[in-house]
Amino acid sequence: MQSVVITVTSGKGGVGKTTCSANVGCALALLQKKVIVMDGDIGLRNLDIVMGLENRIVYDAVDVIEGRCRLRQALIRDKRAPELYLLPTAQTRDKSAINPQQMVQLCDELRKDFDFILIDSPAGIEQGFHTCLAPANRVLIVTNPEVSSVRDADRVIGLVESQEKGPAHLVINRLVMSRVKRQEMLSVDDIIEVLSTEVIGIVPEDENILMSTNRGTPVALNGRSPAALAFHDIARRLTGEDVPLNTQQPTSFLQRLFGRG
């Protein structure tokens, strides 16, 4: 199959981009795909921590770009899945260390060996985001079911469309069905109404995530927790499989707020 570069981004920080990148990467690898997850957040790296591979970093993406090592030397193999690799980023540099053209070249090099290249983008709409967007074939926008994160997702979707990198796909992360039912949280329909973007995954709030992040063991690697199942569904959808979304939705929060007489 032709290799795909997927950029995972959000606009607002702290919505779960890194968790999503790590877990979708693991889930794709467990589907026997050749996967590399790349940390695009230069200077604030943490994908390696979430993956539990921090202690194995020798070289990073900036070393590759600046010619201090070969690409192969910077790749860290994750032995928990058949073909899963991490390309970490530099912790001591800033976003200007890699420009968009260099990112495209780097990804073109990786395309030769991998089916899926996942880039964990930094939050925001500045240079780091544009660098991570440049090589993308698909863009996953992570959002939480709350107004400020949806607003920032809207802004990012607009930028993705204007760069003609779309269509963007939405990952709705940390949904709590019971709170949606009690109308304390935006529902999936509320979010789609504002963003009118295809939803590729709905990840429920899951207490296992915190522990797995701290331990460096992504839930998708071995868990059958609700979030793990959702990440596996996203991975299958990315490979083209038709997996129905779990969208049992109670009445919408916004409808109730604005609409009713």
Binding site: R151, D154, R155, I157, G158, L159, L257, F258, G261
Partner: protein
């Protein structure tokens, strides 16, 4: 006389054969009189066959910068002027940019008669899309959006604004001083409405709770923005 046209992404200022300084002064007075229309925008200039010196270009760029307008292109028929423009790093053609979508927005009428008028020759911008947070549509004529305008988006029109959809975000009609401009939408729930110099804030939470969704029109009445239901007419 300078003429202002809309491009898909910004404005085009066209100069005629009058002396450069006269026209620059005219541009300056327009920038000052309609600061909220120009502020934050991108401008291209078509100077036709006028020959400009380095200093003249530098000064007009400084003037625009001072009004928070960014100059990105200067179109000129004069060979040496084009060289100078390139040396400054400005584009010399609209190239990949869109063609002008608008004729000059006719004389700004002071009449206060939104009803029973048919206006000819005033062009506008038609957007068949969802306008998202952070996006700005700016046009000296009318703006028509077929689709929703999301919270955080902005529409700035010299003429009327019509939204066939939900209007959240900020809408400014008559931004060049036209008091007769109107704003209408299938669902009018903006965070901020402006017509000419009048402003009306609205909290969708307090305003719309319990109201039936219906098309509404906002227009100026005695210097205040009044919102009426479409059916009441």
């Amino acid at each position: 006389m300078i003429t202002i046209k809309g491009l898909r992404d910004g404005l085009l200022v066209i100069f005629d054969q009058q002396p450069w300084l006269t026209q620059v002064r005219e541009l300056e007075s327009k920038l000052e009189a309609n600061a909220h229309f120009f502020k934050g925008g991108r401008i291209a200039m078509d100077v036709r066959s006028l020959a400009l010196s380095r200093d003249e270009i530098k000064r007009v760029d400084a003037l625009l910068t001072q009004h928070e307008v960014s100059l990105w292109a200067i179109l000129s028929q004069d060979e040496s002027t084009r060289h100078t423009i390139k040396a400054f790093g400005f584009a010399t053609s609209l190239a990949e940019q869109s063609q002008p979508v608008a004729e000059p927005s006719g004389a700004e009428s002071e009449q206060n008669a939104a009803e029973n008028t048919v206006t000819e020759g005033t062009d506008g911008l038609l957007a068949r899309k969802r306008v998202r947070s952070g996006q700005i549509l700016r046009h000296p004529g009318h703006i028509v959006v077929i689709g929703d305008v999301n919270p955080g988006a902005q529409l700035i029109a010299g003429g009327d604004i019509i939204v066939w959809g939900k209007l959240h975000g900020v809408a400014h009609a008559g931004a060049l001083g036209d008091n007769s401009a109107v704003i209408c939408a299938l669902e009018l729930m903006p965070s901020l409405l402006k017509i000419a110099d009048a402003t009306r804030t609205s909290s969708p939470l307090s305003q719309k709770r319990g109201r039936i969704k219906q098309p509404e029109t906002a227009m100026l009445e005695l210097q205040e923005i009044k919102i009426t239901s479409w059916r009441e007419k």
